[in-house]
């Protein structure tokens, strides 16, 4: 790990200003992703601004009827919150399907949204990777790509976003609230928060340098059957090969988002009108532009079957 200086911030404005002021500075929340990457020198911050003291760890009713989740609320606490369990079960389920009990006790809402890809070549510093070192090439294109993306991919990067929570946030249409170093705050719809790789796969979100996430807001409850189904190599403690987050109403209408297939949670609203017609037509639309590799072509039928299982679970 490279050496770094460290400070504890007391207010969001102070934290954002501290990161903006110091070149190479980063926020640290739970630390479960950043420290992992720092040990491998994939991340080499010169200064860490600890945001754990910002008192952004509460879940409050939002004025419009939803819930406003502080950026520092731990994944365990978010999943266990009674209101979330009752009204946003897909979010509880997605969180509980991710990582381990120990990790969820530390991982925060903001940190989870910003966790980086699990592409094996991103982790292997001896291999070219455009995301880790822009312009060096993508080792995954001709490499082992079983885990990687099939849709929204580019010639520069086919990595996936590994977050389970983000897939649920996308199906719920959450908004991300931030404060910029100058003190200006803004809200970013989750649909626009994560980016596709294009030719700049190292630019992963809409956040600007030093921009601090302060909360994530869920809209008023949607009702319906809320399901998160994650398909993985082990029954527990493994990243998704494919996952489906769904809100399905009694008449069969609803919404669906996919995890494990793209650089961001994958949702195409126009495809959802066909949900009552079953998984095949919906999957065809969701994956119309898919460009799977030899290794991960299995994800297409896996998406269709997982979606089929979710739709029938919603009926029972």
């Amino acid at each position: 790990m490279r050496s770094f200086t460290y400070e504890r911030a007391n207010t969001p404005g102070e934290a954002a200003a501290a990161v903006a002021r110091t070149p190479g500075a980063r926020f640290i929340a739970g630390g479960t992703n950043l420290l992992d990457l720092m040990k491998l020198q994939i991340e080499t911050p010169t200064h860490l601004v600890d945001v754990n003291g910002l008192k952004l760890d509460t879940i409050e009713p939002a004025p419009e009827g939803g819930l406003r989740i502080g950026a520092l609320v731990r994944n365990t606490d978010l999943a266990a919150d009674e209101r979330v369990r009752r009204d946003y079960a897909v979010l509880s389920r997605a969180l509980l399907a991710g990582a381990s009990g120990q990790l969820r006790n530390r991982a925060t809402t903001a940190g989870n949204l910003l966790q980086r890809t699990r592409c094996p070549y991103f982790y292997d510093t001896a291999q070219p990777c455009n995301k880790r070192q822009p312009g060096s090439g993508c080792s995954a294109l001709d490499g082992v790509s079983r885990q990687l993306g099939i849709v929204g991919v580019s010639d520069a990067c086919i990595a996936t976003n590994p977050s389970d929570m983000a897939v649920a946030m996308r199906v719920l249409d959450a908004t991300v609230e931030t404060v910029k170093p100058g003190g200006v705050s803004r809200t970013i719809p989750i649909a626009e928060f994560h980016r596709l790789p294009g030719d700049t796969p190292h630019v992963e979100t809409a956040l600007e340098a030093g921009e601090l996430i302060i909360a994530v807001t869920l809209p008023p409850p949607l009702g319906g059957r809320q399901i998160y189904r994650k398909v993985r190599d082990r029954a527990s403690y493994a990243f998704a090969l494919v996952s489906v987050a769904a809100v399905i109403h009694q008449d069969g209408t609803g919404r669906v988002a996919l995890g494990g297939v793209a650089h961001k949670p994958w949702r195409i609203e126009a495809a959802e009108a066909d949900l009552p017609r079953g998984p095949k037509v919906v999957t065809e639309q969701l994956l119309a532009d898919a460009k799977p590799t030899h290794d991960n072509a299995f994800k297409r039928p896996l998406v269709e079957r997982t979606l089929g299982a979710v739709i029938s679970q919603a009926r029972n």
Partner: protein, 211 residues
């Protein structure tokens, strides 16, 4: 034959020596790693309570909580397995909650209360979970055991507190103790010897005694 404690000392010295060599004969840096920044350690002070005792340490900011416990406080019960949050050997309780001590910096724990395996019980006065692990043979080599026991204690508290898990059938109902719940909640603690079924038995017995 050397006395076990001598062996220990020797092993430690060898490891420390090897680390020093690596630092001197710096291997070429992998692509992507930043080059030739002067590595001046940044020292900082942090105080926290470990097993009922307040400690103040002057440490390199890079020190994880795990390394602070093992290398600075010489509480070597907590183990370093993968050092990447994947195996659970480093599990300790911070303010009553289990975390991976390898994926958190010591400086981030100013004022916190840390409980390690040494704080749960002693050889003369075992914690019920320690006693149950012995009774049910919840280990073979024992390396993952401190982490398993810390996690096991926390898991029973989490179930009591009604925190749901991936296998909890009804999110709006109460959480019931079951083998499936224990297995799911313990998935962050890997046991290379495969003592899992005995660990489940040990935890089940403690849970039943607690009522």
């Amino acid at each position: 034959m050397a006395h076990p404690s001598e062996l220990n000392v020797n092993r430690r010295e060898v490891i420390a020596g090897a680390g020093a060599c690596a630092a001197v004969a710096a291997a070429p840096l992998p692509a992507g790693a930043q080059r030739s920044r002067v590595e001046t350690p940044v020292l900082t002070q942090v105080s926290f309570n470990v097993n009922g005792q307040l400690h103040t340490l002057e440490i390199d900011t890079r020190t994880t909580l795990l390394d602070a416990l093992r290398e600075h406080l010489h509480l070597t019960g907590t183990k370093k397995g993968c050092d990447h949050g994947q195996c659970g050997a480093c599990t300790v309780l911070v303010d009553g909650r289990r975390i991976n001590s390898c994926l958190t910096l010591a400086v981030m724990h100013q004022g916190d209360t840390v409980t390690t395996i040494e704080g749960l019980g002693t050889p003369d006065n075992l914690h019920p979970m320690q006693a149950a692990f012995i009774k049910h043979d919840g280990y073979q080599c024992g390396y993952c055991t401190p982490g398993q026991i810390c996690s096991g204690v926390a898991v029973l508290d989490e179930i009591k507190a009604g925190i749901p898990s991936h296998v909890t059938a009804d999110l709006t109902g109460s959480v019931q103790l079951s083998e499936a719940e224990i297995r799911e909640r313990m998935s962050g603690n890997i046991c290379r010897c495969g003592a899992y079924s005995n660990i489940v038995e040990a935890m089940t017995e403690v849970a039943e005694k607690q009522g």
